[in-house]
Amino acid sequence: MSSQPHVTIHQPEVPRNLAALDPVFTVQGLDVFYGDYKAVRDVDLTIGRKEITAMIGPSGCGKSTVLRCFNRMNDLIPGARIDGKILYHDEDLYGDHVDPIEVRRRIGMVFQKPNPFPKSIYDNIAYGPRVNGHKRGDLDSVVERALTQAALWDEVKDKLKASALSLSGGQQQRLCIARAIAVQPEVILMDEPCSALDPIATTKIEDLMQELAKDYTIVIVTHNMQQAARVSDRTAFFTAEVDEAGVRHGRLVEFDETNRIFTNPADKRTEDYITGRFG
């Protein structure tokens, strides 16, 4: 008979105080639609400041969709809209006066497939500050700081003019993280940032996330439960459910401290998923 799957719980060396949840995002009754199709239904969630929140669940459960609401990336998809509310601090993220471009300057994003621009390493990092009206003067130090924070500086400092595409996949992904950091966002959204990487590169990114959580709020979508267990402070478990009309929607099942989700989940579906009985 199969043995119990192993789920490693890795505690950060300096445990952060999770009791005091200082909300950056407050999601209230969120529905997300693509045209007439309701992809995600009725999500309530709070993202804490300078914490790592993981969103896990099987394919099609809407976790990426919810993530893309936080920086209004879904606006770029024709027909996408939301019901319900997302508060960013105390401001309605979808309020009439809100400029999505301004939102994305505060809330950065890292994607599943590393997507460096086909420019030099330097120009990749400098892109965001330049677009956001950064004066030429101290751009060099901005680039150095971002690359240092992304733990990439030592590897690329001698070839800043080389094409970003000459880097390995893992380096490219750290470059994309550095690129996001360079505009000094408050939040970094990561959409399965390691799923295209090998285990060593994955470990580096995970270590980096721990480091970045000292300064940034991080929300990560991952397929990999072990990864969520290793890096996150809180975990939101999503699943896909078929409603009375036979339509699939993504739903949030359980949201709690990662520790509790992986050792003592409140919901049977969460337990089934994390022990590998489903999904």
Binding site: M73, P118, Y127, R179, A180
Partner: protein, 311 residues
């Protein structure tokens, strides 16, 4: 009982080829032949140009051809200074490019980055139909409608057939080439790059101009090069709308026959084969060929140097 059959191979069954595949060879030869036809055509053209061109330069000095600004090869006494038709070609091409590149690129950026899928699906075929309008029709459009209109606005004296109108209409003719090929190049830029740029707080215009455009640059330049070659070699519009009287001028209000239109006009007359006037056609043809080839060659190197490889 089953063991009797297991592991027994049919007699003579080896891994060698059991029978020759003639079909495969035939297809390969056929495909190679198809590829060779276009190369052979180019070589054939060059070959046909060389002999009369050499004969031409036996009678007319290279110096007169390239240094004199007097072009009247069909007159008596003839004059063989090719400079006027060359500058006319360059000026008309320049006007055409000034029209087609901004409009074509704007159209391409709109279709690729701004238009909804539905609008794009409706507009792009229309744009491509534009490329199919016979140039003889465009030539008459230039002469009968555009020329009177432009003359009524032009502040300087302008002949009914002139380089400006011809250039404008040649420009219109090549807009679809620039727009359609550039749009293809920009649409081919991976969506992930756009997402990355948007996620950094870029507006649509910034994404288009600072990320998509540079990433598609090699394709866009290829489109422009093709358009320039088409403009430089365009014949019918220029024959009809730019006249046939070659003066050495940069004034686009004057008649401006080009190399291509000279070839067409001279070639459609009844020049005796082997006469010096007849050989002139080939000399000009060689020059046009050489200029176009040089331009393609230089720009190909240029593209290789500046393109952003995104994969």
């Amino acid at each position: 009982m089953a063991s009797a059959g297991r592991g027994v191979t049919a007699p003579g069954n080896s891994l060698g080829r059991s029978r020759p595949r003639y079909g495969e060879t035939a297809v390969k030869v056929l495909l190679l032949a198809a590829a060779l036809v276009s190369i052979a055509t180019t070589v054939g053209i060059v070959g046909a140009l060389i002999e009369p061109t050499i004969k031409f330069f036996g009678e007319v000095s290279v110096f007169e051809f390239f240094a004199s600004t007097d072009w009247a090869p069909l007159f008596s006494p003839p004059a063989f200074g090719v400079i006027p038709v060359v500058t006319n070609t360059l000026i008309i091409t320049l006007i055409a490019i000034l029209v087609a590149v901004p409009l074509g690129l704007a159209a391409a950026i709109y279709l690729s980055e701004y238009a909804t899928a539905r609008v794009r699906k409706a507009l792009k075929p229309i744009l491509e139909v534009l490329a199919g309008i016979p140039t003889v029709a465009l030539g008459f459009f230039a002469l009968t409608l555009v020329s009177p209109f432009v003359r009524s606005w032009w502040p300087f004296p302008m002949e009914a057939k002139n380089g400006l109108v011809a250039g404008l209409i040649v420009g219109m003719m090549i807009i679809p080439i620039v727009a359609s090929l550039s749009e293809d190049a920009m649409s081919a830029v991976p969506g992930g790059l756009r997402e990355g740029a948007y996620a950094l707080g870029s507006s649509r215009m910034i994404v288009s101009l600072r990320v998509v455009f540079p990433a598609a640059l090699s394709g866009i330049i290829a489109a422009v090069i093709l358009a320039i070659s088409r403009a430089a070699g365009e014949t019918m519009i220029v024959v009809i709308a730019a006249g046939s009287n070659p003066t050495f001028t940069v004034n686009p209000g004057k008649e401006m026959p080009t190399m291509a239109s000279f070839i067409a006009q001279a070639g459609s007359g009844d020049l005796p084969v082997g006469s010096i006037a007849y050989d002139t056609i080939f000399a000009v043809g060689s020059l046009l060929f050489a200029l176009t080839f040089a331009m393609n060659f230089i720009s190909a190197r240029f593209v290789r140097r500046f393109r952003e490889v995104y994969e």
